[in-house]
Symmetry: C2
Subunit: 357 residues, 2 copies
């Protein structure tokens, strides 16, 4: 038996045995009462997590499927893409591949998006939609969502699409209060579910936009999701295993309590931050703009990151990330997403110390 290498990567993150057991429950049909009961049972708790009274949809795709769908369903002509790292930067290209005019609002990697810069862009009247990634997972930046949403509120004709893949359920994101038009998340990061599934909710404004969009297709048509959800179903065959796993995870989340969950992430993140400072490393993300669910450590000591990653895996069966894309070797990333506790994070940090010698 090969020992399992536990994931402290910022996605996919470690999935608990309890969640995996739910994931592997025997199948049920997706057009019958059993499925309607399953979806119906989890829906109110999903609405609470999303902070919305709108329907919450289950997408059998990874988050990029919904990100592309949000472009197709919402963008009329021109979208402003807030870009601060590998994931948010990619959205520009995706929007263009969907035939939309897209312009970048680019900041240096490690910096956060400035709401005043968004304001200046939107004042031009050129844009009908804005894309934003709340936590840019490649750089460890958390963008200031309240300030950005308040800025958007000045432009009621502009729709806001927010990806919360590595922040959802770990920090509060009240979708309705923030007037977010599409809030989406994937399964394999903050929710600590197996990869390959996404959740999203859509405002009334977004539904109106979709109704006027001629190229929204079928598989990720927001109006098709709305129609089917009203009958307790999904437009196409859903991944039942992921929905069982989600149900199990919602049990965990609400048993712990949302506030306790938020505080646990803040505490485990603080442990990582203390370690970074104590060991003489720096942070890649700007002060005051650091994510609460993962830490992008700047390799200011010039260590051999690839060797650290390898040693940690070989000696301790723990997996961390050695930097995303062009940040490879210049950073490494430690996740405190999902089920991690002060105990498990402290253990990771001790093992890192052991490997750093």
């Amino acid at each position: 038996m090969i020992p399992h290498d536990k994931l402290f990567t910022p996605g996919p993150v470690e999935v608990s045995e309890k969640t995996l057991a739910a994931f592997a429950r025997p199948m049920i049909g997706h057009r019958g009462e059993d499925f309607k009961n399953l979806y119906g049972a989890i829906h109110p708790r999903l609405q609470e997590l999303f902070g919305t009274r709108q329907p919450v949809f289950l997408s059998t795709s990874s988050a990029w499927g919904v990100m592309e769908a949000a472009i197709r369903n919402l963008v009329r002509q021109r979208v402003l893409c807030c870009m601060c790292g590998a994931f948010s930067d990619n959205w520009l290209e995706v929007a263009r591949r969907c035939g939309k005019e897209a312009e970048p609002l680019q900041v240096e990697w490690g910096q956060a998006i400035d709401h005043k810069a968004i304001d200046a862009q939107l004042a031009s009247g050129k844009f009908d939609t804005v894309t934003l990634i709340h936590n840019e997972t490649s750089t460890g930046v958390m963008n200031p969502l309240p300030e950005i949403c308040c800025t958007l509120a000045k432009y009621p004709e502009v729709a806001l699409i927010v990806d919360s893949v590595s922040s959802f359920s770990a920090v509060p994101i009240p979708m309705d209060a923030y007037q977010i038009d599409v809030l989406l998340t994937g399964s394999q990061k903050a929710l600590a579910l197996p990869p390959g599934f996404a959740l999203f909710s859509v405002s009334e404004k977004a539904f109106s936009r979709a109704a006027q969009a001629s190229d929204r297709g079928y598989y990720l048509d927001f109006l098709e999701f709305k129609k089917q959800q009203e009958g307790g179903m999904t437009p196409t065959t859903p991944s039942i295993g992921h929905i069982y796993a989600l149900q199990s995870k919602l049990d965990d989340i609400f048993a712990e309590g949302l506030t306790n969950r938020y505080e646990r992430h803040a505490r485990t993140n603080a442990l990582v931050h203390e370690w970074v400072r104590a060991r003489g490393f720096e942070f890649f993300a700007a002060e005051g703009r650091r994510a609460l669910t993962l830490t992008c450590v700047k390799n200011s000591r010039g260590i051999d990151v690839a060797r650290l990653v390898r040693d940690l895996r070989e000696k301790h069966h723990l997996v961390i990330d050695g930097g995303y894309g062009k940040l490879k070797g210049l950073t490494f990333r430690l996740s405190n997403m999902g089920d991690e506790t002060e105990q498990t994070v402290a253990y990771l940090l001790r093992c890192l110390d052991d490997c750093l010698g």
Copy 2:
């Protein structure tokens, strides 16, 4: 403990405990060597199953995602949709929602697509693409793929998209020999994997088409799949659980042997057919055009189908389908897909007898 209701529905079908155990293996990152090794290990066997030397792609979506993608990547202007039941009929609407001109080649439900009718349509020169569902799962019809593919061979400027969700791996479909341009299948029918995943392969002609398509997007862009597959990866976060389950299932399939697998399906299907005749029912699908993996039984005896379905579940914990869409109550469907044997199918038939009294 609630007893499990075993699925004899024509999708999703029963998933074995062995497959579910593989499905729930601990997660690995999808950007590292572990993932490349996993994809690399299964790829040659996937090519053998597809009968192709082209790359085989893993899509984190249900089959409809790939069906829509095939439209976006291939159709230049006008597509002919071969329609003979609920699933194939829907493809017309999907094509139109993707902004394509689409025309129906409709036959009565229960009938198969006639290759001569395709020939007559293509002779008009109006169409650049044809969509076909090999097994129309709603009616139990298997369309004559060899005849249709030979007809298409006369029109090298026309691309052929084939859905094989309920026939793949149960009957031979040599993609390259048949000159199919996109061959796709879902996870939850003939392959007996959990729902929420799809596989497909793409001809060189289809890649050329995709290269000229301006609206193929990102999530299901065939050229993005091609580029990533060359590096042993997928364009976006894949459902690792489904790929582990697929690996386990490929072990099963090649341990049994492809010919043995085809013959097992033929024998279990024959058992169902004998039962239908012996019990005085009829077939919904036309003679000579019946699927080998499921049977759509015409309710020629006027029984209470809903009651039969309910009794079978309550008394024997077996689930069958009581007719799809407008065929509800007029038909019922029995699946012999996946891991079913003569023994398990005979048991289903005895239980049906018990409920029919």
